[in-house]
């Protein structure tokens, strides 16, 4: 292989804005461009996967190829994804190497202002392959292992824990759920596999953040979490720092299983650079009296499509989605929630808040289903949109289907602005226009930000301050 062939300078840059930059990358294992059966064989061979996974991937490829783009309801922008120009597998073995000097100053400044710890900045900017917290991860892993908790990457999960992994893998989100779940099923790599045994309550949140490596921040990560009867877990992924991606397509699949009386909370904070298509499928199954909560914060990206769902499969199950979306210039946050009530006395709750800044566009899509012959199902949905500038856009498209006379659903949505009089009032008290705007926006999402762990909520506040700076004047 000559130097040329190992160098990737990809990605048509839409705009030269914060976070849109690319570096030459060097990879040891590389499946090349485009997607075919041989790509899949290559991935399976490199990863040394069992035959059932190979068969699973190949079946998924067929489904992916057959499925049309969902442009009959989603944005036409999806047509701009060129699947032939994407590299579907870059191995863990080699990381892109960049020098800190290559990182643009505004990016360094962003890290500074967000208060991202020194040692993490290099990783986030793609300078270092491995974030220096492997030790922290090992400690966490060892600590929870004492309780019988399995916390490994998905490849290890399917190889070493097949008996737990396989029965649920692809069961919460079938390969054919949508075009992008099929794509992920064909080429997935990275992501976590977690199993919490019955009755075990994991005291501290498990964080993907402390075990960052290329696999976890991969393009097609696959996560499966099973929390057994009466057990409890909180899992967190992502961080508020902008993620400087050179790959334009990110398509993850996350499956959650909460057995009887279990509680599972999945927290995501993501801030993509504005060249990324972030098309993610996330769903959980809640069994009897179990609870699945998605707490989600989406910032950045060119287009994010993400509708976390909960299937309440047995009586007494509860599902919740709490989400914050922030769309700035050139960004489209198309997010929402899916609540499927499949048993009596199930309860779901959706709270979604979006902020559109500049020419940003935020879309909420919701689905609530209460089928026939059930009783006592309750859904509450509240979605509020805040528009900052006159070119900002927001859309809301919920669909609520209720059958039978023993249920209650309620959907409320509102759109508001920060009025000129509010800004004037705050300015009279000495705040600059930008500070006044930040304060209002933070106030708008404040009750949801509280749902995030402390360190995230502090960073989120700073991030909102940053995003608001360009929006006034």
């Amino acid at each position: 292989m000559n130097e040329e062939s190992r160098t990737v300078t990809t990605i048509a840059q839409e705009k030269d804005t914060l976070g849109d930059f690319s570096f030459p990358e060097h990879h040891k294992f590389d499946a090349g461009y485009g997607l075919s059966e041989s790509t899949i064989d290559y991935i399976c061979d490199v990863k040394g996967e069992p035959d059932w996974v190979r068969a699973f991937r190949k079946k998924a490829l067929g489904i992916f190829e057959k499925k049309p783009m969902p442009t009959h309801w989603a944005t036409q922008d999806l047509e701009n994804i060129d699947f032939d120009k994407i590299r579907y597998y870059l191995s863990d073995g080699e990381k892109p190497k960049r020098s800190w000097d290559e990182v643009p100053d505004d990016v360094k400044e962003t890290f500074e202002r967000l208060g991202i710890p020194e040692q993490e900045r290099a990783f986030l900017a793609g300078v270092e392959a491995q974030f220096d917290s492997e030790a922290a991860y090992s400690n966490v892993k060892d600590a929870v292992a004492e309780q019988g908790v399995i916390f490994v990457n998905s490849t290890e999960g399917l190889k070493e824990h097949e008996e737990i992994f396989r029965p649920w893998f692809g069961k919460v989100i079938p390969t054919s759920d949508n075009k992008f779940s099929a794509l992920n099923s064909a080429v997935f790599s990275g992501g976590s596999f977690i199993y919490v045994p019955p009755g075990v309550k994991v005291a501290h949140p498990l964080q993907a953040y402390f075990r960052i490596n290329s696999e976890n921040f991969g393009q097609f990560e696959r996560t499966l979490i099973i929390v057994d009867e009466g057990a409890e877990l909180t899992y967190m992924e992502g961080c508020t720092a902008p993620k400087f991606e050179t790959s334009t397509l990110h398509s993850a699949v996350v499956e959650l299983v909460a057995m009887k009386d279990a509680k599972l909370q999945y927290i995501t904070v993501q801030n993509w650079s504005s060249n990324v298509f972030n098309l993610v499928t996330k769903r959980g199954i809640a069994h009897q009296n179990a609870e699945v909560r998605w707490i989600d914060c989406n910032i950045g990206s060119r287009l994010t499509m993400k509708y976390p769902g909960v299937v309440m499969k047995e009586p007494g199950a509860r599902g919740e989605v709490v989400s914050i979306a922030l769309a700035n210039d050139g960004q489209h946050q198309d997010t929402g929630a899916k609540m499927v009530h499949a048993a009596d006395n199930t309860t779901s709750n959706v709270v979604s808040k979006s902020i559109s800044v500049g020419e940003g566009r935020a879309t909420y899509r919701g689905l609530v289903q209460i089928p026939k012959h059930l009783k006592g199902c309750v859904n509450n949905t509240e979605c509020d949109a805040l528009l900052i500038n006159s070119k900002s856009k927001t859309e809301t498209y919920p669909a609520i289907s209720v059958k039978g006379n023993k249920h209650a659903t309620q959907h409320e949505a509102s759109v508001s602005q920060v009025s000129e009089e509010q800004i004037f009032y705050m300015q009279q008290r000495g705040l600059s226009e930008a500070e006044a705007m930040s304060l209002s926006v933070n106030g708008f999402v404040n009750d949801l930000v509280r749902e995030f762990p402390m360190e995230y909520s502090v960073e989120l506040k700073r991030l909102i301050d940053l995003e608001m700076e360009g929006s006034v004047g």
């Binding site: 508001s416 009025s419 000129e420 009089e421 509010q422 004037f424 009032y425 705050m426 300015q427 009279q428 008290r429 000495g430 705040l431 600059s432 226009e433 500070e435 006044a436 304060l439 209002s440 933070n442 106030g443 708008f444 999402v445 404040n446 009750d447």
Partner: protein
């Protein structure tokens, strides 16, 4: 040192409201402006604060020899100018405590952080003296407040921000007598040689509790009469028509 307004003309949507207003409030004094509805009292307050809807066409305002009108709204505030609004707006989601903290933080030199413990201590004690329930700290600014609560909140902000010059725009309107006394006590406690007040009111009532050094009568965008505190009583007795008639005679 004073807040000196000279020949101020201002208009909104092409309609002139202030038509050559001149007024000087030296530090340490309390001035009151009284006048009938529509005389331009509230316009004066908004123009001093820098509201965008109003255009100043002539004249000037010097605050301790600084050109007030050349400053942005928030610069004026940080330079020591305070306006207690006639109709304070509601700011959903932003708690009183966070709002005041942000306003105080904006006055700190770059790199310095407000001490949160001291801040809360001071706010609590000031709330207590103004008879404001402690639970208001966590509530959104003015949201769901009664008229009286909003006005007290304005005074709380004034005492916390400790301005050099404060304009109270009809702070007395809509207040019952108890609330009025609380507001007056708040102002009187702040009375000092280093601070000037301009109290805009339609009624003499407030001036029973905040005794002004000088009373001005405003009509048709100008100060038409200036006198001592007894002028307010005379106005109350004879009504604004008396001023108008006198003007005509003059």
């Amino acid at each position: 040192m004073s807040l000196a307004i000279t020949d101020l003309h201002a208009e909104i949507d092409g309609n002139e409201i202030l038509k050559g207003l001149t007024l000087e409030i030296p530090k340490g004094e309390i001035h009151a402006i009284m006048g009938p509805n529509g005389s331009g009292k509230s316009t004066l307050a908004k123009v001093l604060a820098g509201h965008e809807d109003y255009q100043v066409t002539e004249g000037g305002v010097l605050m301790d020899n600084q050109d007030l009108l050349a400053m942005e709204v928030d610069e004026r505030s940080r330079a020591g100018f305070f306006l207690a609004f006639q109709y304070p707006v509601e700011i959903p989601g932003v708690s009183n405590a966070n709002f005041l903290r942000a306003a105080l933080q904006a006055r700190m030199p770059a790199g310095e952080e407000l001490d949160a413990v001291d801040f809360y201590k001071e706010m609590r004690s000031r709330m207590e003296s103004l008879g404001i329930d402690q639970k208001f700290t966590g509530r959104a600014v003015n949201e769901g407040f009664s008229g009286g609560e909003k006005k007290r909140n304005e005074i709380l902000q004034m005492t916390m921000l400790a301005p050099t010059y404060a304009v109270l725009d009809e702070t007395d309107s809509g207040l019952d007598i108890d609330a009025l006394k609380v507001v007056a006590e708040g102002v009187n406690a702040m009375r000092s040689p280093g601070r000037g007040f301009l109290i805009i009111t339609h009624y003499q009532r407030l001036l029973d509790y905040i005794v002004p050094d000088v009373v001005h009568v405003m009509a048709d965008g100008r100060i038409v009469k200036t006198g001592g505190k007894e002028l307010a009583l005379e106005l109350e007795e004879k009504g604004y028509d008396w001023v108008r008639e006198e003007l005509v005679v003059a």
